[in-house]
Amino acid sequence: MALTQADVLAGLKEIVEEVAGIPAASIELDKNFSDDLEVDSLSMVEVVVASEERFGVKIPDDQVTELKTVGDAVDFIVKASA
């Protein structure tokens, strides 16, 4: 069953808070991982692996660089789960 955008955003907020210590309340769809949330390339690996585990999807390495914002990641995960 496809995940909803709201489900994925809520889950992703928890993951980013865990990895980068950014309060979930300040994590929005338009936030850029590296510029706004201080998620560097190493932390992004953690976000990706945790997301794969949580949402049961695969996020290929060559796609990770395309995921600039939280919204990019949410869209990718929603599509991948369909």
Partner: protein, 413 residues
Amino acid sequence: MSAQRRVVVTGLGATTPIGGDASSTWAALLAGKSGARTLTEDWANTIPVNFAARVAVDPSEVMERVELRKLDRSEAFALIASREAWKDAGSPEVDNERLGVVIASGIGGVTTLLDQYDVLKEKGARSVSPYTVPMLMPNGPAAHVGLEFKARAGVHTPVSACASGAEAIGYAFEMIRNNRADVIISGGVEAAIHALPMAGFAAMKALSTRSDAPERASRPYDLDRDGFVLGEGGGVLILEEYEHAKARGAKIYCEIAGQGLTSDGFHIAAPDPDGSGVQRAIKFALADAGISTKDVVHLNAHATSTPAGDVAEANALRLALGAAADHVAVSATKSMTGHLLGGAGAIESVFLVKAIQDRMAPPTINIENLDPAVTVDVVRDKPRALPSGDIAALNDSFGFGGHNVVLVFKSVN
């Protein structure tokens, strides 16, 4: 030719099994407290030794969770002790290109290595933390401190097993003397309390097995000593060029006046029973500092509580210092802190600085029957006052591999 650049100590920091900072550690040391405890981890009873000396204040009590999850425990110790030392030095304004870091570790991020190997086996390669390598590399503690303080004169990590901490301070001393830097954050850390390193040390018969009384197990110079007690933590000193420190009105604890470095070329782990390497290191250190044996009033010994090592060192001290050994108060503080491996020479340097400041040599605890083969003047049970006036004190540190390091600390008027 310009005059020799002098190196002074202007800041101290520590996190040890007997205190969360330098001053509480020093107070506990003078009070003769032991940091050894029975371990509560599940694995503790799967190995021959179930006790060790964990830090008194866990990093999780003083650092944020998000910061800690990217750090090996040894890196956390380095940051905690460096922040304290930097603040103690008055958070100096320094040209970053004249600021260096030399922080050692004997084993590096060994718990990270082993924990991530468990992750690899249980969950596969994709689940291995992307921080694994920066967490396990032995230069990680120095590198993190270098990043935090934006040190750009050089960040270094000498590795010489249990001599590493002292070697780091000696390296820092040379960097300032050779005009590569004006201020160095230097010291040593270790976080190796884990089943595998402990099983390895136990296999060498290097660890005490006195499980019924952990706090009585580390007993350097006692007839019934049976090995060392593994400790964790670290110590950091801010070293500064003398004129630089004076110009900013810094509090100056004492001077580091010289160092002696030698190697045994004898055995991978056993001490050379002649102690000739140790004797040469002491001789070189005194010559480097331009002092004689009669100036030395105190020595913090390596003395780990192993049957062979303590006597070999004591014999070497007696031979190197000669009759002057009669007025050198020898303290074996590993009786209280346990053995911090790469952190040992660093916390013991912190203790020497405090000893010179307070004119007090810390005690050696747990000596019930002094080994008659030990012919140096051991400070037993209670601290002993040191003389006023100009004094010098030595740090002895040795490591598996036959590394010998001796540092000379001197009072400054």
